[in-house]
């Protein structure tokens, strides 16, 4: 096939993967050019879920922007809430009380677990292991119940506010959380035997979709994609926010850069999140959960940038204030968008069946890609 004489007459087929394809996890369309089973080129077509959120932020007051971040990364909306609230706090020079910071970290890590469980469930289904889908969603259900108990919603939490959090922990939350974490660790251990050790699963993932550390750095990859490629980069460690500098946790790094490495990073992250949550519960001080806020919040003219580690990678918000109650400009730096940009470079040369494995391992959320 590489013969130059035949390349002229080579017959390629263009195939649309998506936008209605269960494995694209949303409305993503991949325009794939195929030579037999091998991919020649790939062009991700995005924008099916575009809502113009950044413009919508400009028309609303600072507090009103928060529920819209729920609709960006809907698998981990609390991390989005936190990211934008940090930007607002930096603009207005606010500081959340210590207890609020601990609760924020606790909930973000709980949300990270929920998000990674969705990844585990859908990824296993993509590869063909439907059983794991059910087991992972069973655990996620407990996690969502806890989130519902705490925030009042199952997916779109809208729980973080500039200057703190709106409500304190409900009664019986700690017990429920401890039970869940025990169950989770057991389920993860079970999953290791069921899925991680499974021959077919490993065969499908090992050596597939290799991202070199240079490529990961060049494309601006972050989160599990970067850490699966051997880059030890985690915003929680490199630029600690909230109370992450006081908590002990490891950042899992794998060096093979393939789909398996990215999968393993996420599985290990769930264990680390459980560790962080236990520490938060132990160290959490009593006290206020909200700092004093003016009735009409008008931050001084200026700009602010916040960096947080969402389950997908580095989620940042850039905010400009012109002294009015509405932000002048908001921009979200979303990891899914960045990772999706790596696809055209990763896909050529792989078989069509591996597209799903590679796309799934990036764990993109389309709400975040399109905004």
């Amino acid at each position: 096939m590489v013969n130059t004489a035949t390349t002229e007459q080579r017959h390629t087929v263009e195939v649309n993967l998506g936008p209605q394809h269960p494995s694209t996890h949303g409305v993503l369309r991949l325009l794939v050019e195929l030579d037999g089973e091998i991919i020649v080129s790939c062009r991700p077509v995005i924008g099916y879920l575009h809502r113009g959120l950044e413009k919508m932020f400009e028309k609303r007051s600072y507090k009103q922007t928060i529920p819209f971040t729920d609709r960006m990364d809907y698998c981990a909306s609390l991390n989005g809430n936190l990211a934008i609230c940090q930007a607002i706090e930096r603009l207005g020079g606010l500081q959340a009380p210590e207890r609020a910071q601990y609760i924020r970290v606790l909930l973000c890590e709980l949300n990270r677990i929920a998000s990674h469980l969705v990844f585990l469930a859908t990824y296993a289904t993509d590869i063909g292991a439907t059983t794991v889908f059910l087991y992972a969603f069973r655990e996620r259900e407990k996690c969502l119940d806890l989130m519902e108990c705490m925030t009042g919603a199952r997916l779109t939490y809208n729980y973080v506010r500039p200057g703190g959090i709106p409500q304190d922990l409900p009664d019986g939350f700690e017990n429920g959380l401890n039970c869940f974490l025990d169950d989770l660790l057991k389920a993860l251990e079970e999953n290791d035997r069921l899925l991680t050790g499974n021959r077919i699963f490993r065969g499908r993932l090992e050596g597939v979709g290799v991202v070199s550390p240079e490529m990961a750095a060049a494309y601006g990859a972050s989160g599990p994609v970067a850490r699966g490629s051997g880059l030890n980069y985690d915003v929680r460690k490199t630029a600690p926010y909230e109370v992450y500098d006081r908590l002990e946790f490891d950042v899992p790094v794998y060096h093979t850069g393939d789909c398996m490495a990215r999968y393993l990073v996420r599985i290990e992250e769930m264990r680390q999140s459980a560790r962080i949550i236990r520490q938060c519960l132990k160290d959490m001080p009593a006290g206020e959960i909200m700092c004093k806020m003016p009735k009409i919040f008008k931050p001084p003219i200026g700009q602010a940038f916040s960096r947080t580690e969402s389950p997908r990678g580095e989620l940042s918000f850039y905010m400009v204030s012109d002294g009015t109650p509405n932000p002048a400009r908001v921009h979200g730096r979303t990891p899914s968008f960045v990772h999706l940009g790596m696809l055209p470079a990763m896909l050529p040369g792989v078989k069509i069946a591996d597209v799903i494995a590679i796309l799934g391992s990036l764990d993109t959320v389309l709400g975040e890609v399109d905004r």
Partner: protein, 187 residues
């Protein structure tokens, strides 16, 4: 030799998986058969709105201050005020839940605890007009409460107006010798 070993270890990995699936077969079920059974909803759950009826005062807590309207990111709420000042209230209060994100910002903005969220989540319908909730379905106690609210407030407003008129009349009558008091009453 390697191939046989490979085959064996691969086969074992399947057996391990089957064992786990088998063990899970004996577990309690975690799902509920939804329309027939219902799972418990957390007390903080953000569902359909309710405007609490204050039995002691015989009216809704809402004073028509519009803070919830200002807090809402998606313009869900429209209201018609009824009077103003001490006895001010609402004549109508309409929420278009087709636009609502259930973000809780209106509830947090309210200084009078006049709007709250219930755990009722079954709000789906095939008609958009059903999503528009008028005061009669939002008020705690329904249409009767809404009517009571209207009666209480309009009676109070009428009494206030009558009192004012009487005072004004009294001030007008005693205008001659009570000049020192007149500006005070006016203020």
């Amino acid at each position: 030799m390697n191939t046989i070993q490979d085959l064996f270890s691969g086969f074992m990995s399947f057996l391990r998986g089957m064992k786990i699936t088998g063990a899970n077969l004996g577990r309690d079920k975690t799902t509920v058969l939804y329309p027939y059974e219902k799972a418990d909803v957390a007390p903080r759950y953000r569902g359909l709105f309710v405007l609490p009826f204050n039995e002691a005062n015989g009216r809704l807590n809402c004073t028509g201050c519009t803070l919830c309207i200002q807090a809402c990111p998606t313009n869900v709420i429209t209201l018609t005020k009824l009077g103003a000042g001490k006895h001010g209230g609402i004549q109508d209060f309409q929420m278009d839940l087709g636009r609502c994100m259930f973000c809780n910002l209106c509830v947090e903005a309210c200084p009078f605890e006049a709007i709250e969220m219930t755990t009722q989540f079954e709000l789906a319908s095939t008609d958009r007009n059903v999503c528009v909730f008028p005061l009669t379905s939002l008020a705690q106690g329904g249409a009767a409460a809404a009517e009571k609210n209207y009666n209480t407030i309009s009676t109070a407003l009428a009494a206030e107006a009558a009192e004012k008129a009487a005072k004004a009349a009294a001030a007008g009558e005693s205008g001659g010798h009570g000049a020192a008091h007149a500006p005070k009453e006016g203020a």
